[in-house]
Amino acid sequence: MSDYVVKEGTKNLQRAGEKLITTHCSYCGMQCGMHIRVSEKTGKIKGVEPRYDWPVTLGKLCPKGVTAYQQIDHPDRIKRPLIKKNGAFVESSWEEALHVIKDNVTRLQQESGPDAMSVFGGVSMTNEKCYLVGKYARAVLGTRFIDYNGRFCMSSAAGGFLKTFGMDRGSTLPWTELEHSDCFLMAGSNTAECHPTSIQMFWKARDRGASMIVIDPRETPTARIADVHLDLLPGTDSALANGLLHLIIKEGYVDEAYVEERCANFEELKAQTALFTPAYTSKITGVSEEKIIRAAHLYGRAQKSVVMFARGAEQQSKGVDNVTLYSALALLRGQIGKFASGVATFTGQGNGQGGREHGQKSDLLPGYRKITDPEAVKHISGVWGIEPEAMPKPGVSAFEMFDEIQNGAIRGMHVICSNPAVSAPNVEYVWDSLKKLDFLVVNDFFLSETAEFADVVLPAVSWAEDEGTTTNLEGRVIRIRKAVEPLHESKPDWQILKEIAQVLGKGYLFPYEKAEDIFNEFRLATKGGKADYYGITYERIDRENGVFWPCPSLDHPGTPTVFKGRFETPDGKAVLPSVPWQEPGEVPSEEFPLRLTTGRVVYHYLSGNQTRRIDFLRDQCPYPYVEMHPALASRYGIQDKEMAEITTPRSSMTVEVKLTKATREDILFIPYHWGKELSVNKLTNACLDPTSRMPEFKVCAAKIRRITKKEGVSHE
């Protein structure tokens, strides 16, 4: 078996005494291709070599990708299981740690029933692990309380896609077609910083004359290169989308035949959007009428266009509505299911797509099956080898689990591959909840802020120490390879779950020797589901540059473009939305007159537990800051690089001020990758979307105050 996969004619630099292991990056949904350099003699990781022949990214990497390998043999790695004794972590043996877990889980479940334990999963891990987390929670622990950090990431996109198309695949087209498109309408995505390797496709298209419309309150590096930048007020996406839909209809850009044949609810949409004249839209969104009109014409005239969105539009209490409205723009233009056109969301986490299909969500079973559907329960119970009656009922969403801790329903939690102590909104409430737990187990390879609350921390491996598959933002299933054996005493998450299952007397449910065994079981589990992986094998992934789901049989070529003939709704028609304007969960008041929005920087990934430890990345952006317009700063007498205190109804924090005119004059922006007193999520609002249960990270009311030198707060 060769671990170096390369196309004929592609030149890589092969150093003497080193081998290259072909894999993908550990971070975002782009899953950029890379080779990891490994010393043949010592087996140690030496560095990274670009994977020029990976068709999605062509060797390109962002700074996180270039330095990703530095996580593997990092001095901060958790080397042995940690058990908290008298308030401090003590290194211990696996045997002892498993014993403590067994005792506590058994005790809590005997006292308060199986639901006393809960599982908080994550999707920055392989499909194999994500699948197993669901099985572990439901078949081993028997709890209904399982959910995952995708609730803070992709859930609004998923909810919007399900509502509109009846199926949730992040992109309706393969990324390699983007360069042939004529227009991109991108909402709430700072692609240049969050998915940088996508930018090459946009430039290629622009070299052919394609246009770009970017919807973002800040003039991000992405918005800077746009033909039209719609600098809306945070939280007003639904009004802006309604305004664009209004103009598309009014100006006669609707593909009437397509809408007639493939969409439902058009008259309702038409009636609802009638109100959203450019003047009305402009009044709500703060975008000039002229720009809205120009954007509508640019988008309406484009032959092939792609509507794209990301967390900016999704992390709102109307995230699902925003997704359905933006998707409607593509539907009215008849773009979905065709070449180089469609709808896509930029998946945040590495396996955000795959991880949400395999049963980590409180109401889903593998293959995107509903846990409330008796047929689905029967099928999955059969694959798992349990009685259908033993399948727990639906649980609650990620953030609501903390409510369940507060009211005593959840007493123990197992956090796997997630760091909610940084990534959840209103984190002071989350910290308090974690403290209230009787028993907390965390799997991680660095001691995260969440792990610090734990009773037992189990050392997991980094992504390069295990085999597996992930599903990238296109819906393409790809291979992750093992570059080194697990370091120290760490173990892959699937093996950890297997060993816990064994001590709990359910070892027979986890008969796996290697990751591929899990993959083969989960192919069966997804068979016949919406996200059908049955036809995908490790060997096919290598041969075919990854395989797109759905792929129901071994001779099925996979599905790069979805919805070619019909949508997955019962009648095969896409459902157009009709959504009235509604304010965000929290609007500025006299006391809190400004809007605060949060986001990311290119150097850090999610809660920063990995990237804050990498020298290069930390040096580039060591601390959070508040970014604001000099005109706004002037009103408060604040100068560049001074310290300021930002307060919302929940809490306050002190950060350095960074001034730029490349933003709106009435907003504050703070990146969220830090924990504890540096966490902007102390300030964010946990107002949840009614469908997706996505918290409103992107908008809340705030006030700002200059910190005088005398008060002496500084990060230095």
Partner: protein, 180 residues
């Protein structure tokens, strides 16, 4: 070496992957030799990459009293050779672009060598390999000429047509398309 480095400043997204990648080159001892700067962050987020242009008659080599800066047969201007460098820093002052860096611990200069171990085999240097926005490219001479022609062509595409006021920002004067 049959390829050339081609930079398009306006494409730079400021991610600094080129800096991280520069450190990864085998001969670079974990130090970066290129630069990414904001034009003016207060006004805009526009950044630009800056790296050695490997001058034909490089000032850095010319002002080196120890003759420590060698130029390969392909024209790549290398870092000062460790044996010869006397640490006088003439090169860092002499370069009009401020490219050579100085290591005060080891008392020697270091600079971009176009990842010579890669580029001599026509494998792209690390910065050009990873640049996510194609702001830095390692391409054939002919491809570069095509790209230059395309840039002008692009300005004729509807929607980006120059107006009477700013036409000279788009088209060189000798091009003659828009003269009255």
């Amino acid at each position: 070496m049959n390829k050339i480095m081609y930079l398009e400043f306006e494409r730079c997204i400021g991610c600094r992957a080129c800096l991280a990648a520069c450190r990864e080159c085998g001969d670079h001892e974990g130090t970066e030799r290129n630069y990414v700067d904001y034009v003016d962050f207060m006004e805009s987020r526009q950044t630009f990459p800056m790296m050695c242009m490997h001058c034909k008659d490089p000032a850095c080599a010319r002002v080196c009293p120890a003759n420590a800066i060698q130029i390969t047969e392909e024209g790549v201007v290398l870092s000062a050779s460790e044996e010869k460098c006397i640490g006088c820093r003439n090169c860092t002052f002499g370069c009009p672009f401020g490219i050579p860096k100085f290591d005060f611990d080891q008392n020697k200069m270091y600079k971009c060598d176009m990842c010579y171990d890669r580029s001599k085999h026509d494998i792209a240097p690390m910065c050009a390999s990873v640049c996510p926005s194609d702001a830095i490219r390692f391409i054939d001479y002919d491809e570069m000429q095509t790209l230059r022609r395309r840039r002008t062509q692009l300005n004729l595409v509807e929607g980006r047509k120059p107006s009477e006021q700013d036409k000279w920002q788009y088209v060189p004067e000798f091009f003659g398309v828009y003269t009255d």
